[in-house]
């Protein structure tokens, strides 16, 4: 309901900038490869083949997509309320820890209780970590960008502490540390009753989490665009003063949105742990939380756009190894391309000036964070 242009025209408009940003990032990536004497055609062919050229390639792409979708959705949902959630990384970690805790305990529970409980724990961990910046914003005016970044550090250090292996001087190990792992800092495997079952088992390793994630996408879309709660969230994001005028409880909406955003990132952590890693070790945390920002922007902060953007990121991750093997280009170029995509989608003015595009009314205001100050 954002305009009276036909749905196809609106879709084309929405896709324009992300697609152009992707093309520019790939071209610039190619230039970088050429400068270093690599063959970009070979590299990109390897990338494409690695991601989509085989059943295993597809399986990897889809598996990697799942957490990207949820962290992207987390950031996108916060954007809808005008909030910039940089904290998906920390929320993801808290979700992971909560899920692992439930997953490695409660021996003997049946899978239909243990698994949902472990997933809910992940959701809850993220919600908690999202609620804090939301509450701080409405009570003290502390900006969520600052608080979520700080909470990322707290979450990272907390997660590290839970699996701390102890030291040679007999320091106390962390509560989730696996004593059988010796000096390695990691948790035990989650119990089989808390693991997400495979849709396609090894070597494909596609778990049912992806189906759950897609269901969550539809749920969030419904919530944002078909419910009064979504109307409130979007109104707060579009016009804070009009929201107050309309009788919307702005502070509550901000807290709720942050809880929701945190929950989505936390669920990503839970699904990744219960579906793929089956345990937590600090090196698993990765950059999936921060990639959520790029994915949300690339997906134009729309739930379905986020799925497409996550597919791209999943493919880039999945195809990287094959690319390196085929062309000798270091897989690190993938991160360069991802960063370039972010630069171009975050600065659409660059893309517009290069391609000489005119602004359309709907493109004038991308839904990003509205202000630097707390709610008035």
């Amino acid at each position: 309901m954002n305009g009276d242009a036909s749905p196809i025209v609106r879709l084309m408009r929405a896709l324009l900038i992300p697609v152009l940003a992707l093309i520019m990032a790939l071209l610039l990536g190619a230039v970088i490869m050429l400068v270093f004497g690599d063959d970009p055609v070979k590299a990109y062919r390897g990338l494409l083949y690695g991601a989509f050229g085989s059943g295993r390639g597809w399986a990897t792409t889809v598996r990697k997509m799942a957490p990207f979708i949820l962290t992207g959705l987390s950031v996108a949902t916060a954007f809808k309320a005008g909030l910039f959630n940089i904290g998906a990384a920390g929320q993801f970690l808290m979700g992971t820890i909560f899920s692992v805790f439930v997953g490695i305990n409660f021996q003997g529970l049946p899978v239909f209780i243990h698994l949902p409980l472990a997933l809910l724990a992940g959701l809850l961990g993220g919600m908690l970590w999202g609620a804090i910046p939301g509450l701080l914003k409405v009570t003290t005016g502390a900006h969520e960008v600052i608080t979520t970044i700080m909470l990322n550090y707290v979450a990272s250090l907390f997660a590290g502490w839970t699996v701390y292996a102890g030291g040679s001087q007999g320091q106390t190990p962390g509560p989730l540390w696996d004593p059988t792992a010796g000096p390695i800092s990691e948790t035990p495997d989650v119990l089989p009753s808390a693991q997400l079952p495979w849709i396609f088992g090894p070597p494909y390793r596609v778990h049912w989490g992806i189906v759950l994630v897609l269901a969550v996408v539809v749920l969030i879309w419904w919530l944002l665009y078909r419910t009064t709660i979504g109307f409130e969230i979007r109104t707060v994001g579009q016009n804070l003063k009009a929201s107050k005028y309309a009788g919307i409880r702005v502070n509550w909406t901000i807290v709720l949105t942050m809880i929701l955003a945190g929950g989505l990132a936390g669920l990503a952590g839970g699904i990744e742990t219960l579906g793929v890693n089956h345990k937590f070790a600090p090196e698993f945390s990765g950059s999936v939380g921060f990639d959520g920002i790029t994915i949300a922007l690339l997906g134009q902060t729309h739930p379905f756009g986020v799925v497409l953007a996550a597919l791209l990121f999943g493919a880039l991750d999945a195809g990287g190894a094959k690319m390196q093997f085929d062309s000798g280009v270091a897989a690190d170029i993938i991160q360069v391309i991802q960063a370039l995509i972010l630069a171009f989608v975050a600065a659409p003015a660059i893309v517009r000036s290069i391609f000489r595009l005119k602004r359309t009314p709907e493109q004038v205001k991308p839904t990003v964070s509205t202000s630097w100050s707390g709610p008035g």
Binding site: M1, N2, T227, T228, K241, A242, Y245, G247
Partner: protein
């Protein structure tokens, strides 16, 4: 007047049109060296537009500007500064974290050997400061300075750029009475040293005190000049607000019913934490329109915000139909009043520009059936509701799914009015309901307001347009400095009386001061 010197500044037949609005029409003004010209006019009379033309911010649609007898064309304030025109804006253009000297040199930095030469600038500020008695310390941080001193920094800035013509846009609006007297002394000193000053204000007393000549602007036109030695506050007020009735609305005499809205001793603060409402008491009855007149910034905005739950009341009591609604939430006001509110600033409060007309039409009722069932939004019901209202209230839009931001101002306002007026209410609070919209829409909205009154709704109308207040109101309250200084029946409220009250002067007092 053959021996008159060449004017320092002259504007000839200046007309400025904006889409749908004529801001200035055939304006002619002369400013002579060493004089203070008072430019008097209500809000929206076109004073600021005219000054922005003189300062090179706008191009006139027609007419020409002469500086020291030479016709000039200005493309930006840079050209104006080069011609010796300096402007002190109503909102200061200073960087708080920089020193006075740094602020003064911004844009025309003194450089020696590739480095900023702050010392030379400070030296020059000292000279200017002592010559014009400005008392400005070049090394003070602007953020540490009180408002009055910041204003003097702005004056120093223009003098540093060798301005001969100074435009002061509502300079007294932010000052205390003592600071105002200080400013007047500085203005006189500047005048004695040959500078020419345009002093823009809507305050009658001040312009009489300091100006050598007074030009009155109304609805974009110079309606007359006055000599401060012979003019009185009453005569100026009459010129400022005009005699002829511009807008007339057909309405029957009011049939006031029981009291709907009762305000007793209401106090509140503005966004800066200063007292904005001082013990305001008012009553509005069913079937009458109470107009609140006054110059903008005298507490009207805060009054409406407190009544509609957008601003906390610090003291006093608000009752609607006998129910205590002091510090009720906006939704309580809407639901329990039941009341509706046409907000003063439709872009900030009244609508969400990126939302469709249909969604804007349910902006504060989206949660009620039939627009929502439980938490599910019922789009077909919203669209149907919108299609009906768009017809009924003559909102011209390609479709109800068009974003509200692409509608014209008049149609946006009709959309807001449609949303608010289509609910059954007992109390209507309308703030500036026709601000910045076309005449056709004004007429339509005025008739709608009268129709509401005739349905026994209590109407509180706040407007800075005296014509609007006079055309619609059954009783008129005048607000000045956060207080209701008088409430007059419509029959007794003449423009002259209201104009004086708006300036904070009681009519008897004005007669004696002449």
């Amino acid at each position: 007047m053959a021996d008159q010197p060449i004017p320092a500044l002259e504007v000839r037949n200046i007309t400025k049109r904006f889409p749908g609005v004529i801001a200035n029409q055939d304006v002619n003004l002369k400013l002579y060296p060493g004089e203070i010209l008072g430019l008097l006019g209500e809000n929206g009379a076109g004073k600021t537009t005219l000054m922005n033309i003189i300062y090179g911010l706008y191009h006139p649609t027609e007419g020409e500007i002469l500086v020291r007898g030479q016709p000039v064309v200005m493309h930006s304030p840079k050209d104006a500064i080069a011609l010796g025109i300096g402007m002190v804006h109503q909102h200061f253009q200073l960087v708080p974290v920089m020193t006075v000297a740094e602020n003064v040199m911004l844009g025309s930095e003194a450089v020696r050997n590739g480095f900023l030469d702050v010392g030379a600038v400070a030296q020059r500020i000292h000279e200017l400061s002592s010559r014009y008695n400005l008392d400005v310390d070049p090394y003070a941080l602007v953020e540490d300075l009180p408002v009055g001193v910041r204003q003097r920094v702005e004056i120093v800035k223009t003098l540093y750029r060798q301005a001969e013509i100074l435009i002061l846009d509502e300079p007294t609006a932010v000052l205390t009475p003592q600071e105002i007297q200080g400013l007047f002394q500085i203005m006189n000193l500047l005048k004695e040293q040959g500078k020419s000053i345009i002093f823009i204000t809507h305050k009658l007393k001040e312009v009489l005190q300091v100006a050598d000549r007074i030009a009155v602007l109304r609805q974009g036109k110079v309606v007359g000049e006055a000599d401060p030695r012979t003019a009185t506050q009453a005569s100026l007020a009459a010129m400022m607000v005009g005699r002829e009735v511009i807008l007339t609305v057909d309405k029957k005499p009011a049939q006031p019913g029981p009291v709907i809205l009762e305000i007793q001793g209401l106090t509140a603060r503005n966004d800066l934490g200063e007292p904005a409402l001082r013990e305001v008491s008012l009553t509005v009855r069913a079937g009458e329109i109470l107009g609140v007149a006054g110059v903008q910034g005298n507490g009207q905005t805060e009054l409406v915000e407190v009544l509609t739950g957008l601003r906390p009341a610090l003291g006093g009591r608000i009752t609607v139909q006998g129910k205590d609604m002091t510090n009720a939430s906006p939704r309580q006001v809407t639901e329990e009043g039941p009341s509706c509110h046409v907000p003063e600033d439709r872009h900030a409060y009244g609508m969400v520009g990126s939302y469709s007309v249909a969604h804007n039409l349910v902006l504060n009722t989206y949660y009620r059936p039939p627009f929502a069932q439980g938490i599910t939004v019922n789009e077909p019901a919203i669209v149907e509701h919108a299609s009906r209202l768009v017809k009924e209230y003559d909102v011209r839009t390609p479709s109800v799914l068009t974003p509200a931001s692409s509608l014209s101002g008049g149609n946006q306002q009709k959309m807001v009015v449609a949303r608010e007026f289509s609910r059954p209410v007992k109390l209507l609070i309308a703030a500036q309901p026709t601000r910045g919209i076309d005449v056709g829409s004004i007429e339509f909205i005025h008739n709608q307001i009268v129709a509401k009154r005739d349905e026994d709704v209590a109407v509180l109308l706040v407007s800075y347009e005296l014509d609007e207040i006079m055309a619609l109101s059954d009783r008129i309250a005048v607000m000045y400095k956060g207080q209701i200084i008088d409430v007059l029946p419509r029959e007794e409220a003449t423009r002259e009386k209201l104009g004086l009250l708006m300036a904070g002067v009681h009519p008897d007092e004005a007669a004696s001061s002449a």
